[in-house]
């Protein structure tokens, strides 16, 4: 299989880029793919804690581009899956310690060993963004159903296109079906209509994300997590499989089923 470099980006902060990266990476590894997740948020690294790997960091991305260590020395193997690796961002070094050219070389190097290279992009549209997209084949844009997030996503799509990344796909994160039903939250169609890019998947708002982040275990490992299930579907789509989209109706049926179970108990 030809390896893919995917950058996960959003413009706005706090919409779930890191959570998305951690879950898609883990889900792909669960499917037997070899995956490396690259944290490019220099100075504000977080992918390590979301994955529960913060205690294993010795070297980081800046050490690699400086030549202070070998690529293999900086890659951290996941505790749970043998084919899952993390390349952590530097926490204390200068934000501009890496250049787009170096990033491109780095991702090309990683292509030799991995099926998927997931690049977690920092918020914003400055140097960190330029670095993160430099070596990418495609972009995954994460947005929540809020004006500010969709607006920033639109800007990001424009910048990605200007950089030659044309078929970006969208993940709508933290959708609250009840609010959508009451007309108090933009629906998937509204957002797709406005951004006019292809939809990769929809992830429902789910408290289990908070819990799994507390534990440092991605939600895809939790079978009961609805967000986890949505991420698993997206991961299957990334491997080229056709998987039907999560819809509100699905969820209503699930809710009913859950309620029935509660009564039965």
């Amino acid at each position: 299989m030809k390896s893919k470099v995917l950058v996960i980006t959003s413009g706005k902060g706090g919409v779930g880029k890191t959570t998305t990266t951690a879950n898609l990476g883990t889900a792909l590894a669960m499917m037997g793919k070899s995956v490396v997740m690259v944290d490019t948020d220099i100075g504000l690294r977080n992918l390590d804690v979301v994955l529960g790997l913060e205690n294993r960091i010795v070297f980081d991305i800046v050490d690699i581009v400086n030549g202070s260590c070998k690529l293999r020395q900086a890659l951290i193997k996941d505790k749970r899956f043998d084919s899952l690796f993390l390349l952590p961002a530097a926490q204390t070094k200068d934000k501009n310690a890496v250049t787009p050219h170096q990033m491109k070389n780095l991702t090309n190097e990683l292509r030799k060993d991995f099926d998927f290279i997931l690049v977690d992009c920092p918020a914003g549209i400055e140097q960190g963004f330029r670095n993160a997209i430099a070596g990418a084949d495609n972009a995954i844009v994460v947005a929540t159903p809020e004006i500010s997030s969709v607006r920033d996503a639109d800007r990001i799509v424009g910048l990605l296109e200007a950089a030659g990344l044309h078929d970006s796909r969208l993940i709508i994160n933290r959708l609250r079906s009840r609010m959508v039903k009451n007309g108090d939250m933009m629906d998937v169609d509204d957002i797709i209509d406005i951004l006019s890019i292809n939809l990769l998947g929809v992830v429902p708002e789910d408290e289990s994300i908070v819990i799994s982040t507390n534990r440092g275990e991605p939600a895809v490992m939790e079978t009961a997590s609805r967000a986890g299930a949505a991420y698993k579907k997206i991961a299957r789509r990334l491997t080229g499989e056709e998987v039907p989209l999560f819809t509100l109706d699905d969820e209503r049926i699930l809710d009913k089923f859950r309620r029935l179970l509660k009564i039965a108990r």
Partner: protein, 90 residues
């Protein structure tokens, strides 16, 4: 009671989602209306190329710009014409 009725009947037009969608539509019209000087220059050159086939224009004085108002964005071009080219028989 009135509140509930009001909510039921006004839901479709006044729901906060529709407000969000409309505000987003307007704000994006403006966000997207930024065009880089390079692109504008290319557009200008192409415009001149096409118009020159029909009209004699003052290429130096040609002005092309994007203009915003609240609801829309327009490409406004001011092209001084020096004269018409003699019609070619068709």
């Amino acid at each position: 009671m009135l509140d509930i009725l009001y909510k039921i009947f006004s839901r479709d037009n006044n729901s906060s989602k529709n407000i969000a969608r409309e505000r987003l539509r307007l704000v994006l019209i403006h966000d997207r209306a930024t065009i880089s000087p390079d692109v504008l220059l290319l557009l200008k050159e192409d415009l001149i190329k096409v118009i020159r086939e029909y009209l004699e224009i003052d290429e130096e004085a040609l002005l092309v710009n994007l203009e915003n108002d609240k609801e829309s964005v327009a490409l406004v071009a001011n092209i001084p014409v020096k004269g018409l080219r003699r019609a070619v028989n068709t």
